[in-house]
Each structure stands twice: as structure tokens, then as C-alpha cells.
């Protein structure tokens, strides 16, 4: 497999004031045809990474190539190979939905007839035909996002960048968009998706890189990342009382790998030990145990283990 995106030692400092080091040496390789998730909290550097790859941000140091084209050397040429759905609704408010698609095609050199045909094809494909004459301000968030994806792929790019595509969407629109993204994989489009939702990264991505404070912490398939946690079960204990000494007590229970203080209680990582739950509950009861949530490790667990903090706060 060959790389669709290659990022080496990427550093970005925004001039400020105050100056911000948004990326502190990022290395990434996204393979052709892959759906790649960039997972990290707000301010991690996801948008900056996408910005460099899409010619919107100039790197301070390091290199990035997309489809073998250096992002700094020839931005107009690179833009023919990429589609971009940015974090915000950037639809042209002065143009209808259909015109957004039509003029995008014109910018990419299609003739009037080709552009009209492509716009109509996309409207049908994205079930937007009855909204063709709507203005972007009349669309719900989910529909607007669908138009943005349609516009981004209108010129048939090899690589599609989606920056937090479902942030702020209702659950139904979110699912619809997930279907669209899975459709991209079937069409052989390489997708770089950023998100701060661990379930989204997990469900959609072939591989995930976890990014925090401008650095990539790990990069692997979601399954491998979760295996790396070294536990099959995660118990979240919510306590009404204080947790003094409880972590130590829990850590001594056979099968428990780790017990660490967490928001409102303690998080226990364990092998799926038979009979583990009653012993944990018994130990925690004197501390005012209110609630126990039992789950398998998620990418959030991976993130917490790596950084000691939650993805969203």
C-alpha cells in the first residue's frame, strides 16, 4: 500500500500574540483508500493539521505531501486532489444549494454543461434534489453538512478531509453522515477525519491517531489501541463519600490491573475476572458507592491512560 498523506516532523507556531505552538512535530502516514481518524480534545491541533494538508495553514517546519504533492510547493495543483469539509459551515450564503455545487465545479475547470450535470448528479446522490433551490441559511445543520460533503467531492478528489464533521449535529443526522463517510471508503476515496468523539473514530476509522497538545501519542487500528490498554473490563465507580485509600484496596483484588481516581469516583481496569464485581462493590460500599458502570475499554480509555485526562471536559 502507498501513502496518500505523508506528514513528517510537522511544526506549526501561530504568530499570535501570544504565540502558540499548535503542532510540536507531528508524523503521520495515511494509506490510500483508508479512513483515518485523528482523535483528540479541543485545541489538540486537529484543525491545524488538516489546515496544513489543505493549503490553508503554512507549516513552520516539517513537510507534508498529499498524493505525492508537497502542500507548500504547488497549492493550486494540490487542491485538485483534495476535498475539504471544514469545521464550520462555509457554504456560499449568496448562492443556492445547487449553485454551491455548480460553481464549485466551475472553479475546478468543468464546463457549464459538465458542472450542471455533476451538480444534478450530486443532488440526487445526496438526496438533496428537493432542496436544490434552498439557500444555505434555510438548511438544518445536518442538511448543510451533507451539502458540504457533496461539494467537497464534486471535483472527484482522491483524498477527502473532514474536520469534526458531526460536531453539533443531532443523533439522526450524525448517523446519516456516518453512512456517507462509509460510502466514501467503498468508492476508494481516502478519508482523513478529525473528531473528539471516540465512538465516531472507533466506528468509522481503519486506523486512529490520538493527538494531544500538538503531538501524536499513538497510531493504530482501534482494536489494537484498545487491546493496548491491557484490560478487558473497565468499571467506573461513582462515590458519594471520599475515596481515601480505596484505590489501594481495589488494586489488591485479584484480577484488577489498575485503580485510579476519576471524576466523582474511581476507575478500575481489570481482566474479565469472574466474581470481580461483587468484591469491588463490597470494597467500595463504605465509601458511599452510588453507581457502577461496567464496560469494555474504549478509545476514551486509551486516551485517559495516555494523558490522565478525559477527552471532553
Amino acid at each position: 500500500m502507498t501513502a496518500a498523506i505523508r506528514i513528517e516532523g510537522l511544526v506549526k507556531e501561530y504568530a499570535g500574540p501570544p504565540p502558540v505552538r499548535a503542532l510540536g512535530g507531528v508524523d503521520l502516514e495515511v494509506m490510500k483508500g483508508e479512513v483515518f481518524g485523528l482523535l483528540g480534545p479541543n485545541g489538540a491541533g486537529k484543525t491545524t493539521t488538516v489546515g496544513v494538508c489543505t493549503t490553508r495553514v503554512l507549516p513552520t517546519a516539517g513537510r507534508a505531501t498529499v498524493e505525492g504533492i508537497d502542500v507548500v510547493a504547488d497549492p493550486p495543483r494540490l487542491r485538485r486532489s483534495i476535498g475539504v469539509v471544514s469545521q464550520y459551515n462555509t457554504l456560499d450564503r449568496a448562492c443556492t444549494v445547487r449553485e454551491n455545487l455548480y460553481y464549485h465545479c466551475r472553479y475546478f475547470g468543468m464546463t457549464g454543461a459538465e458542472s450542471a450535470a455533476r451538480a444534478d448528479e450530486l443532488l440526487a446522490q445526496f438526496q438533496l434534489t428537493d432542496r436544490a433551490r434552498s439557500l444555505p441559511t434555510q438548511l438544518s445543520g445536518g442538511l448543510a453538512q451533507r451539502v458540504q460533503v457533496a461539494r467537497a467531492i464534486a471535483h472527484r478528489p482522491a483524498v477527502l478531509f473532514l474536520d469534526e464533521p458531526t460536531a453539533g449535529l443531532d443523533p439522526q443526522s450524525r448517523l446519516a453522515l456516518w453512512d456517507l463517510i462509509e460510502g466514501m471508503r467503498d468508492r476508494g476515496i481516502t478519508v482523513l477525519l478529525t473528531t473528539h468523539y471516540m465512538d465516531e473514530a472507533d466506528r468509522l476509522s481503519d486506523r486512529v491517531a490520538i493527538i494531544d497538545a500538538g503531538r501524536v501519542l499513538v497510531c493504530d487500528t482501534p482494536a489494537a489501541l484498545k487491546r493496548q490498554v491491557g484490560a478487558e473490563t473497565v468499571l467506573e465507580l461513582k462515590l458519594a463519600g471520599n475515596a481515601d485509600g480505596l484505590a489501594e484496596t481495589l488494586a489488591r483484588i485479584p484480577g484488577v490491573r489498575e485503580a485510579v481516581p476519576a471524576e466523582g469516583g474511581i476507575r478500575v481496569m481489570a481482566a474479565s475476572g469472574e466474581g470481580l464485581l461483587p468484591r469491588v462493590v463490597e470494597a467500595a460500599a463504605p465509601h458511599g458507592l452510588r453507581d457502577v458502570a461496567v464496560s469494555e475499554p474504549t478509545l476514551e480509555t486509551v486516551f485517559i491512560q495516555l494523558t490522565g485526562k478525559a477527552l471532553r471536559d
Partner: protein, 269 residues
């Protein structure tokens, strides 16, 4: 043309088509904002004032009536207003709150050409606005206006330079002024420009106020008004052609450069 050039030309054409579509859709507001200022200016200065006996004579010894003096100035103002209304105001929105410019910035075309397209399209709107002033100045005034073109090449060059300067001014203001200061921009830039732009009086008539006559030379509108005066009302006093042509060319270059640089800074981090 080499292949990249052809692609740039197509993308540039696409941007122009998009702007044309938006202009056609918003034709009524376009006409209103174009016609209102010259219509009322001509009505008050060249119809109401003569009727109520208010004297306004900038023509001095030439004996030209005030309506004639107004024609070139009002055309110049209409062009400058167009640069601001057609380029600066929308651009300020598109670069700011809505970030709508993004799809055009990500078109396969160098960043500076996206900015230049704004200048060119703003300039075309400026020409249309300038032409729209003519019927008004013929129909409204109480006294006949005396306009005749002595040199068509001069008129065409002046209109081309003035419209490009207006578009470039719009680009520079739209990219440099923050959206929250757009209102203030009218007070600080647009109003002084028009009142001190040799619109209502020929530049030569400022002779008695020497410091003002020198001071207004920083105002590009002065050269537009004077250039149009030379081309349309050659009987009135006006600057030498070499001076306003040079100044207009410099204004186009300087404002375009400032606008293109600021556009890049606003769109590429």
C-alpha cells in the same frame, strides 16, 4: 497557454460567473445603492438649489453651471461607492463570521488571483454604476449640463483606471478593516474621501486654500474626479492628464498590493 494557466483562467472565470450570478440575483439592491446618492445629489444641488436661488458656483470664470461641474465628480463617487458596497462589505462578511470565502480560497488557483478577481469584478460594477449616473444628470437638473467627450481614448483609460482603483480600494478596506469596524470605516474613510475628493468643485478651485489643495492629493478620488473632468467637461479647469494618469496608476498598484497581501494574511494562517 500552458496547462496550469488554462486551469487558472477557468477558475478565474468561474469566480466571475459566481459573482455575476449573485449580482443578477441582487439587482434591485444594486440599482438602488448605485442610483440613490447621485440622484439625490443632482436633485438637491442642480435642481433644488437653483430653484430656491442658492448659489453654488465652482466653475469660477469659466461660467459653467454647477450641474456640469457635478457630473464627473458624481460618476467618480458612484464608482468608489461601488468598490465599497460590492467588494469591501461582502468580503468583510465572507472573511469573518461566515468564512464563506473558503471554497473560493480552496479553488485550484493562486491565492492572489482570488483577490484580483474581486478587484476586477468590483471594477466592472464600478463602470456600470458610473454609466448609470449619466441619465440622471441629464434628466434631473434645472439647468442644462454641458458634457462632451473630447477624447474617447482618454475617457476609456480614466474609467478603466478609476474602476480598478475603486475595486482595489474595496479589496483593501474589506480585508484590512475588521468587520466590527466597518461602520467606523464609513466615518473615517468614505465620508472624508467624498467630501474632500474634488467632487463638488474642481481641484483648481481650491487654490485659495493652498494647504487643502495639497492635502487632498493623498485622496485617490481626487484623481478620478479630475480625470473624468478632463475627459467629459474639458472646458472646466482640471489637472494635467499626466498627473492624474500617473496618480491613478500608482493608486491602483498600491491599493491592489495592499489588498492582495491582506487577503492572503486573512485566508492563509
Amino acid at each position: 497557454m500552458t496547462e496550469p494557466r488554462r486551469q487558472y483562467a477557468r477558475a478565474f472565470g468561474g469566480l466571475m460567473l459566481r459573482d455575476t450570478r449573485v449580482l443578477v440575483r441582487n439587482f434591485a439592491p444594486f440599482v438602488t445603492r448605485t442610483v440613490m446618492n447621485p440622484l439625490l445629489s443632482v436633485f438637491v444641488f442642480a435642481y433644488v438649489f437653483p430653484k430656491i436661488g442658492q448659489g453654488m458656483r465652482g466653475g469660477g470664470a469659466s461660467g459653467a453651471n454647477f450641474a456640469t461641474i457635478l457630473v464627473p465628480g458624481l460618476i467618480a463617487v458612484a464608482m468608489v461607492f461601488q468598490g465599497i458596497a460590492a467588494v469591501a462589505l461582502p468580503l468583510s462578511m465572507e472573511l469573518g463570521a461566515t468564512r464563506e470565502i473558503e471554497d473560493r480560497v480552496l479553488a485550484p488557483i493562486p491565492n492572489w488571483l482570488v483577490a484580483v478577481e474581486k478587484i476586477v469584478f468590483g471594477g466592472i460594477q464600478g463602470v456600470v454604476a458610473g454609466l448609470a449616473v449619466f441619465p440622471l444628470v441629464y434628466l434631473v437638473p434645472a439647468t442644462p449640463v454641458d458634457v462632451h467627450v473630447e477624447s474617447w481614448p482618454l475617457l476609456i483609460v480614466v474609467i478603466a483606471l478609476a474602476s480598478l482603483a475603486s475595486g482595489a480600494l474595496g479589496l483593501a478596506l474589506g480585508t484590512i478593516v475588521r468587520p466590527q469596524h466597518i461602520g467606523l470605516m464609513f466615518a473615517i474613510v468614505v465620508v472624508p474621501m467624498t467630501f474632500l475628493g474634488c467632487v463638488y468643485y474642481p481641484w483648481a478651485a481650491l487654490g485659495p486654500i493652498r494647504w487643502l489643495q495639497i492635502g487632498v492629493l493623498v485622496n485617490p478620488l481626487v484623481y478620478m474626479s479630475e480625470g473624468l473632468r478632463a475627459a467629459l467637461t474639458p472646458g472646466l479647469p482640471h489637472m494635467p492628464a499626466a498627473l492624474f494618469l500617473l496618480a491613478l496608476t500608482l493608486a491602483v498598484l498600491a491599493l491592489s498590493f495592499a489588498g492582495v497581501v491582506a487577503f492572503r494574511r486573512r485566508t492563509i494562517d
